[in-house]
């Protein structure tokens, strides 16, 4: 089995799974029906992508691996998502800020992944790019709406951007497996996206009357499987059925 490819795929896919899970918590509790529907749509898109990635990863892994064994039966230390996507739904400002900070990044990755030498990954990216482009439009619009809405909403989205900013630098970390896959023309060299990312993010924030955080201190760990303390509780729910009833068909 191609370990590097397998690990690279999980790194990309876990972001979608965990963010979809967070968005799934919100279903039925949003500020309007329209935002409920839109965020559920995003969650569904991400889940769809996750399934394509994991199905491919399961093939690579062989044995009895399935999309579900990969999604539900790993230990916390084996999930490779960035810290950003596991952060809680503190309030709607956090939901939007988290989505926006991820979408800009996600779109860049999908754009490049379309050119991957791995045709499976290229196909997933090709199918997903339209969806992610919609996500980015949705979250950017809401960043602007909240930033330029009332003084309360401006303060709340600012609070969220300030709180989540420290998780952005990790998005551009490259692990060993990633580097090997970059060298083979399979993976996206995210380190090269960093400047463009901050530029695009800053532009939207500026338009939204949001201060761009200046902190130079960042938190990382998710990509290496060292997650925040929120992650264990998220996984306890996510894995509950598969752990409680092993080896069954649903």
């Amino acid at each position: 089995m191609n370990n590097n490819l397998y690990n690279y795929i999980l790194g990309v896919a876990d972001n979608s799974l965990i963010l979809a899970q967070r968005l799934g918590e919100l279903c039925g509790h949003g500020p309007t029906l329209e935002t409920d529907i839109a965020l559920t749509n995003i969650s569904l898109d991400l889940l769809g992508q996750t399934r394509s990635y994991y199905q491919y990863a399961a093939k690579i892994k062989g044995e009895d691996a399935t999309e579900d064994s990969i999604a539900f039966l790993r230990l916390e230390r084996e999930y490779k998502n960035v810290l950003l996507v596991e952060q809680p739904n503190t309030h709607f400002g956090f939901v939007i800020a988290r989505q926006f900070l991820f979408d800009v990044y996600h779109y860049m990755i999908m754009q490049q992944l379309q050119n991957s030498k791995d045709l499976n990954l290229a196909a997933i990216a090709n199918k997903g790019i339209k969806e992610v482009s919609y996500h980015k439009r949705f979250s950017s619009d809401w960043v602007k709406r909240l930033g330029d809405g009332t003084s309360e909403s401006n303060q709340k989205i600012q609070e969220a951007i300030d709180a989540l900013w420290r998780f952005t630098d990790e998005l551009f970390d490259i692990l060993e497996a990633d580097q090997k896959m970059i060298n083979e023309g399979v993976a996206v060299d995210v380190s090269k996206l960093k400047a463009a990312y901050y530029e695009e993010v800053s532009e939207v924030l500026k338009e939204a009357n949001i201060q761009i955080p200046e902190s130079k201190y960042f938190t990382r760990g998710g990509k290496k499987g060292i997650h925040s303390e929120h992650m264990g509780y998220l996984l306890a729910d996510l894995q509950y059925m598969q752990r409680t009833y092993p080896n069954m068909t649903w």
Partner: protein, 317 residues
């Protein structure tokens, strides 16, 4: 308008309905027709919205990615149904905010079935199979109801509901073909949802108000008891296929009537839940009110932003 004129309009109106013409929002209509429709459609909309909660409870814990996605999509459909139905209400001159206010204050009702807790994953199957099944039986006739926007909304709603019902049944089927634990889980869900599902078809005809008028307006085509019998006759064979036992010792096929006889429904329970004292009434209302209150600043922001944009646009012209 003189009394005579109103009477005349009413006659024309009733004649249109009798001819199966659709009434549209801008048409003249009796005040009672308008009010009855607002009441029924908003109650239906509220049921969709509150109905998101018991199923939403299992989204984070769905047992496979495929089921998680299907459940999410289903709950999203319910939000969509709520949206059409509130829009249909709006055509009659009542705003969504007003309707929410009625829901949150307890003035408006919603389907009582959603006041039961979803205790296991099998409840996702049972709700699809039984609750959506009963809903469809209630709703299919409404695709031909007299008020155009309601009828058109119901066409779409029924199509999606019947998809949900099949999906629910398929969850049950998978469980019943699965391990002993899964089969027990399925039986347990049937035990808990069976009677509340029968209650969904409404009080017995003897206790039901509004029926005659509703029949005339095609808001109702069959009595509650007829619908209930239809539901039971349709569902029992489905349970047989699953290999599950309906939790009613009095249930048995009656050769003479060509229907299933069934046991007594616990109407005390029904009225207790309707009056707000079911297992989850408090929790459901709290969830809706919390969502609404916590979302106020977001709605305010969207409004303020839209106004600013409009103002900038005007100034630019």
């Amino acid at each position: 308008m003189s009394e005579h004129e109103v009477k005349k309009l009413e006659e024309i109106f009733e004649a249109r309905i009798a001819r199966d013409e659709k009434i549209e929002p801008k048409d003249w209509m009796p005040e009672k027709y308008r009010k009855t429709h607002i009441r029924q459609m908003s109650q239906h909309a509220h049921s969709e919205i509150v109905g998101m909660l018991p199923e939403g409870n299992w989204i984070t814990r769905a047992p496979s990615l495929r089921r998680k996605a299907a459940l999410l999509a289903k709950v999203q459909d319910e939000a969509g149904h709520g949206l059409y139905l509130y829009s249909a209400c709006e055509t009659l001159g009542v705003s969504r905010d007003e309707l929410f206010e009625q829901l949150h204050s307890g003035k408006a009702k919603y389907s009582s079935i959603f006041n039961y807790p979803t205790v296991t994953w099998a409840d996702m199957g049972a709700i699809g199979w039984l609750v959506d099944g009963a809903a469809i039986i209630n709703q299919v006739p409404l695709c031909n109801t007299s008020f155009g926007p309601y009828a058109r909304a119901m066409v779409r709603v029924c199509k999606e509901e019947s998809f949900h019902q099949r999906q629910g049944y398929e969850i049950m089927l998978t469980l019943c073909k699965g391990s002993e634990e899964q089969k027990e889980m399925a039986q347990d869900a049937l035990n808990r949802w069976w009677w509340p599902s029968l209650m969904m078809l409404g009080p017995t005809d003897a206790e039901s108000v509004h029926t005659e008028q509703s029949m005339k307006w095609k808001l109702k085509r069959k009595s509650n008891d007829e619908l209930r019998q239809q539901f039971i006759d349709q569902t029992v064979p489905q349970a047989d296929i699953l290999g599950l036992t309906i939790p009613d010792p009095d249930l048995k096929w009656n050769e003479e009537t060509g229907h299933y006889d069934f046991g007594e429904i616990d109407w005390d329970e029904f009225w207790q839940v309707v009056k707000g004292h079911g297992p989850c009434n408090k929790e459901r209302m709290k969830a809706r009110v919390d969502a609404w209150e916590n979302g106020a600043w977001v709605r305010d922001a969207a409004m303020a932003h839209a106004e600013k944009k409009q103002k900038n646009l005007k100034e630019a012209i």
